[in-house]
Symmetry: C2
Subunit: 142 residues, 2 copies
DNA sequence: TATTGTTATACTCTATAACTATA
DNA sequence: TATAGTTATAGAGTATAACAATA
């Protein structure tokens, strides 16, 4: 088991990672915000869903999710179909344009990463991705 | 070299990591905010410095740094000594209380990590920390 | 009554621009 | 003139609480 000092160092590096992400976010094209990419990405991955489920997957409050969704719907990037099982809810899905916006944003970010992580062996990128996923999993399940 | 798809997956996991950090931030004790921990941590690591240098190390604008510093000084967590070489600047350093606040926050975060990453082998924690540091380095130098 | 979602309000963190004091 | 720092203002992202509609 790692000791306190190692975890403190890990925490420092995790904090610094937020700066890196913020810097990358600033380079996003058009009026597409990071939060929008997150929403579009989740819907694209998991398919049609309601706001409540989306909020759960994003791990943010439903009130916030509701605002994000309204923002995206205003731009025509997602559509809200009636939920046949519950008139209080609507089912969210990406429009063709929304899908295009998501792809553009993802390509852009992947491009920035590919550029900066130029010297990284394939194996390190995979391992890094896996460790981040494990971190998330260990925080989500508990 | 990793392909686009791998980098897109890495981006997704990095985005999710921010959620994890936000969750951890919510559990911080007292009125100590994450941004405060960042400031205290940098001064503690690098020693006495001016606002400009602090902003550079934190990678945030000096105006924002100035506000954070004022916040910390109000609480008596840092002190601002005159800079003998330049009357426009002051040298920032942690007070005894500031150091205590930092240690408490760091212990808290390290504790949360230790708790959630219970099953992680020592080696994985080290490797993870190193990969995060490398990510930051590769984004900072370019 | 309980649940789904929306809206009003407020807080944290950040950036840009205008300003003051000193170099 | 240029630089260090502060302050005013604005925007993105979030949470809490009060609310409307439906279950």
């Amino acid at each position: 088991m790692a000791d306190r000092k190692q975890f403190a160092e890990l925490a420092t590096q995790l904090r610094a990672t937020i700066s890196v992400m913020r810097g990358m976010a600033r380079t996003l094209p058009g009026d597409c915000q990071v939060a929008s990419v997150g929403v579009l990405s989740v819907i694209s991955r998991h398919g049609e869903m309601r706001i409540g489920r989306l909020a759960e997957l994003l791990d943010i409050d439903m009130s916030v999710t509701s605002r994000h969704v309204a923002h995206l719907a205003d731009r025509g990037w997602i559509e809200r179909a009636p939920d046949p099982l519950d008139k209080r809810s609507r089912l969210l899905r990406l429009t063709t344009r929304g899908d295009a916006v998501l792809r553009t944003a993802q390509d852009h970010i992947a491009g920035v990463l590919a550029d900066r992580l130029d010297g990284w062996p394939d194996e390190d990128v995979e391992r890094f991705t896996e460790l981040l996923a494990r971190l998330r999993a260990d925080f989500t399940t508990a």
